[in-house]
């Protein structure tokens, strides 16, 4: 039982990482309807950019900021130079899955070709370990959780209380209607990719901080749990993705602790499979019908 409680701590940290990625994924998927598997590529890129920055002596906060900027630029470029041209050429919506899988494959192996198969790790200052019953959590892990919470609250506030947030929600709900009402849908989509990129960039750096060492394929290991979290919470709903991430993170860590550690991913995968088959619209379904790829 102690193991399960100890795993709860890991689960919350995993959930924090997943929620950052899942929120970026779900926001962008909800607005543009492009299933972007290459988000793992953006995360992977952010990991190695942060590694390079970290080597030159930048502190953790600067590293995260640079990772976020890198993610935003990469994600915007991905849409502007690859996805958007294909959508304009009339590629069928689900064929975008193949395109994003191709892009992810390319990024993953370009990274492998550059950095090689080895593992690297960030130099993170050693922090105090706090104990709460059987749960042990380091100062770094606590800051990761705090970063996730602050970032998500900031996004939620933006979506809820600003005019721009309103425009994003309007586009996600009904793009043609939003356009007809004077929303600049093209700009909303660009900004959505930027925001999604900021979140995936932060997620990448946070992965690099949290895991003891990472390789070219580490970000890919987070992809399926991340999508599971996003779909569990209902596509296009950042708060839902947060809850989804909490469920996926905690259940997979605790489940793995109780059964077999190598089944951590299987539990996350199985949850995604079951959710998709039993309740395809997620725990908190969208109020609107699915729509077309948004141009």
């Amino acid at each position: 039982m102690n193991i399960a409680i100890a795993a709860l701590g890991f689960g919350i940290v995993t959930a924090a990482i997943l929620s950052l990625g899942a929120v970026g994924f779900t926001l962008q998927y909800g607005v543009t309807n492009v299933l972007n598997l290459a988000i793992a590529g953006v995360m992977s890129g952010a990991e190695y950019v942060s590694l390079e920055i970290n080597r030159h002596g930048a502190n953790i906060w600067l590293t995260i900021a640079v990772g976020a900027v890198f993610g935003a630029v990469a994600s915007y470029a991905l849409n502007r130079f690859i996805y958007m041209p294909f959508i304009r050429r009339g590629v069928r919506a689900f064929a975008m899955v193949i395109i994003s899988l191709a892009v992810w494959t390319i990024i993953q192996y370009v990274v492998l070709a550059i950095v090689g198969p080895g593992y690297s790790s960030l130099r993170v200052p050693v922090t105090h370990t706090y104990s709460l019953g059987a749960i042990r959590i380091t100062g770094t892990q606590i800051s990761v959780v705090l970063i996730a919470i602050v970032a998500l609250l900031a996004l939620e506030a933006t979506l809820r209380f600003t005019l721009f947030g309103k425009a994003i929600r309007a586009t996600a709900t009904n793009a043609p209607l939003a356009r007809a009402s004077g929303v600049n849908v093209g700009r909303v989509i660009d900004l959505t990719w930027l925001i999604s990129g900021v979140f995936s960039g932060i997620a990448g750096v946070v992965i690099a901080i949290t895991v003891s060492s990472f390789s070219y394929s580490t970000a890919g290991d987070f992809l399926v749990p991340l999508i599971a979290a996003a779909i569990l919470g209902g596509v296009g709903r950042p708060l839902g993705a947060m809850v989804g991430a909490l469920i996926v993170g905690v259940v997979s860590e605790v489940g793995a602790a109780l059964t077999n550690p190598s089944y951590k991913n299987v539990i996350a995968f199985a949850m995604l499979g079951i959710v998709l088959v039993v309740r395809p619209s997620g725990l908190f379904p969208e109020r609107v019908q699915r729509k077309d790829v948004v141009l």
């Binding site: 919506a93 689900f94 494959t105 190598s262 077309d292």
Partner: protein, 352 residues
């Protein structure tokens, strides 16, 4: 000289296996439009079935542990491999295809492939764990004086696998040329219209998945009987992506395209990459291989969506007029208005 013939037979067997797999996937994806991202799992299931049914029961003290071992005579393990592939596809069809939208189905199948690999790797007693199965006896080797390494046996095996490959293509050809094949294409082009004609998308998709799954299983069985070993590292999910690339390169929805795709992508690039000069890190060559395989679908969808060999438009000309020779522009990237794309991406939602 013998070495050359040996190498040629090896490549022919690999090509036959890839082509069989491409034939099945072409039926599922190229003709019907089902995005089966777990296709390689059916090949793996066929391979494990054939291996286990040839190896005989696992001895408790043996170095490999698996379930369901038996000593079945030659053609039975291969037939069983095809049957297992088909039955597994039926399960996928019932659980997934019936309920899910295309992009969600793609994710679920991708996830299923990941689960299958993880379970096969970590359950030691199931199919040999991470090390997999080895020392699978060659079929019919007794006819060649037990000399499986001999040239004549390899020539025989290459011929045998090419024969099976031809059989698969014959079946696919008969299917796609029949009224049934027309229904499949109708389903691919416009599901709602096909339903309005009274066809059940589920039935069509399920039967196509079973045929494709059987071919995948058979290809796995043939491969494992030739290479005599099979392990989870041989069927990671990107291998399915290789086959999708093959179809997009060769040309979707036509059988010659699938054949050419199998020749160019898995066989051509897989073998050709070994002739690249080695430099940089030890993983450089494999990186280049995957980057090329990732770039090909992008380049083809952009510059030549119809693939190397375009699908022919089937047209029923009125009497006296010449029969249609029009070529389809590649259905994955049709020049349609966005509303039609929207219909396609949301058609599953329209169902009650």
């Amino acid at each position: 000289m013998n070495v050359v013939i040996f190498y040629v037979t090896l490549i022919l067997v690999y090509f036959a296996v890839d082509a069989m797999a491409c034939a099945g996937l072409s039926l599922e994806f190229g003709v019907t439009g089902v995005v089966n991202f777990a296709y390689i799992v059916f090949q793996a299931a066929g391979a494990y079935t054939a291996a286990v049914l040839t190896l005989g029961p696992a001895s408790p003290s043996g170095f490999q542990q698996y379930i369901g071992g038996a000593h079945w005579p030659f053609p039975l393990p291969l037939i069983a491999a095809a049957v297992v592939g088909a039955l597994l596809s039926l399960v996928v069809a019932v659980l997934g295809v019936r309920r899910l939208r295309t992009d969600y189905l793609a994710i679920v199948l991708l996830v299923a492939a990941l689960i299958a690999t993880t379970v096969a790797t970590n359950q030691d007693g199931l199919v040999g764990g991470a090390a997999g199965l080895a020392l699978v006896p060659h079929p019919l080797v007794a006819l060649f004086g037990n000399n499986a390494a001999g040239l004549s046996y390899n020539v025989f095996f290459a011929g045998f696998s090419l024969l099976l490959c031809a059989l698969c293509f014959l079946i696919v050809h008969r299917v796609t040329d029949s009224p049934f094949g027309r229904r499949l294409r109708a389903l691919r082009e416009n599901e709602a219209a096909a339903m309005a004609q009274g066809f059940s998308p589920f039935r069509l998709q399920a039967s196509v998945l079973m045929m494709g799954g059987a071919m995948a299983g058979l290809s796995g069985g043939v491969l494992v009987e030739y290479v005599t070993a099979w392990a989870p590292s041989g069927w990671l999910y990107p291998e399915t992506f290789v086959l999708f690339t093959a179809l997009i390169v060769g040309g979707l929805g036509n059988n010659w395209g699938a054949l050419v795709g199998a020749l160019v992508v898995p066989t051509g690039i897989g073998e050709g990459i070994q002739y690249l000069p080695h430099f940089g890190s030890p993983t450089f060559t494999v990186s280049v291989q995957w980057i090329v395989i990732g770039l090909l679908p992008l380049l083809f969808l952009w510059f030549r969506p119809q693939g190397l060999i375009p699908e022919r438009h089937r047209r029923f000309a009125p009497a006296g007029e010449k029969k249609g020779r029009q070529l389809v522009q590649g259905w994955l990237r049709p020049r349609t208005s966005s509303t039609q794309i929207g219909e396609l991406s949301t058609s599953k939602d329209a169902r009650p």
